[in-house]
């Protein structure tokens, strides 16, 4: 594994796990010392993370991208378009056996499963579902969109009810897809995404003060 990939992966994990807070400044020298790599791979990693939207430039200098409520809403519209397109492709496919694998992903979560795992599976559901379409660009678009949403979803205050509802919706989408009911599946997925978006943005807007107190930059919608 090259140093560049090492730094990229570790830095991405730290940012997504909120170990480095949204809005925090980054210096190439700090990352260098943190991961024991020289500035060359550090620089390369930052350039890649910039295209993912996880870090950005603040004049001269690097910053961990803040949570941006307006951006979250736009990402939701974007992912709705690409996820539905992917889902319609999948609905039209003859072989539906891969759906079982995704259903099994959902099944793997129960009351003993740590919150972190629920979070991961909740995102992987959408990513893997998009992968089934066979379209590399739709797949990447969904994966990148979920990456951008990841930190915000982690900060969202979700009660058991909301999590349960999400899983019910996921299963309903799979069921419609399995039957090849494209319009119905698309309708369910759309409602799921719109609902998730509304709850997410509302939750973060409410907690904005508290999040800022924890040092997390949250830009309003």
């Amino acid at each position: 594994m090259s140093q560049m990939q090492n730094v990229e992966r570790q830095l991405r994990e730290m940012i997504l796990a909120l170990e480095i807070g949204p809005g925090e400044r980054l210096t190439e020298r700090w990352i260098e010392s943190q991961f024991g790599a020289s500035r060359t791979p550090v620089r390369a990693a930052l350039l890649r993370l910039e295209t993912e939207g996880l870090v950005g430039r603040d004049g001269r200098g690097w910053t961990v991208s803040p949570i941006n409520l307006a951006e979250l809403e736009q990402v939701a519209v974007y992912r709705e378009a690409v996820e539905i397109a992917a889902l319609r492709l999948t609905c039209g496919q003859a072989d539906k056996s891969a759906i079982d694998v995704i259903e099994a992903m959902l099944d793997s979560c129960d009351e003993d499963t740590p919150r972190e795992e629920w979070h991961r599976v909740g995102m992987d559901f959408h990513i893997e579902l998009a992968r089934l379409s066979g379209n590399e660009f739709l797949f990447r678009a969904v994966r990148d969109a979920m990456t951008r949403l990841s930190r915000a979803r982690w900060l969202e205050v979700r009660d058991e009810t909301a999590l349960g509802r999400a899983w019910v919706e996921h299963r309903a989408i799979l069921a419609a897809t399995l039957l090849g009911q494209a319009d119905e599946a698309a309708r369910l997925l759309s409602a799921h995404i719109v609902g998730s978006r509304d709850r997410l943005v509302r939750s973060l807007a409410n907690d904005r003060r508290g999040l800022r107190a924890r040092g997390f930059a949250v830009v309003a919608a």
Copy 2:
């Protein structure tokens, strides 16, 4: 303007203008000498162009991405999804004055206009139309998709009839959008994209031998 941006821009232009052929190998040292920059900005530029899909890695080493017919078809599906989503957003907007600017873009091309300009305006039409949606992610998605299609479209053998038809379709899409007829506009845009894709892939598949003879790597669908 930093050296990195310089190299990135110039290298992108050379690749898109086919001055460096699809499939050609690139060495960091060659680029370095070509643009009078050192390897650091050259590497940074290559990393960014990699995320645009214009260059890729060939084991160790860099390659200008070949023309990939399978990829072109997938990009067409992708752009259909995002362009239609953007167009529907635009249809729902009250202020339609920006449409005139796009119409003017189309008007700026006549029989005296060089082929290169037609090509550029043909892509900008879709990019600017997506920008009107106000959704940054849909806009970027369309722009990136058009970048990936750019070289192939340049290689496509297009007669005057095909170009004229494209312009007629463009105008029809604008007209429906101006009236806020979202479904009709989406139908027209979808047909336009699918038609373009079919002609493009068919043209390149037919010319594949000739293109290879010119040193252009063309990967089959």
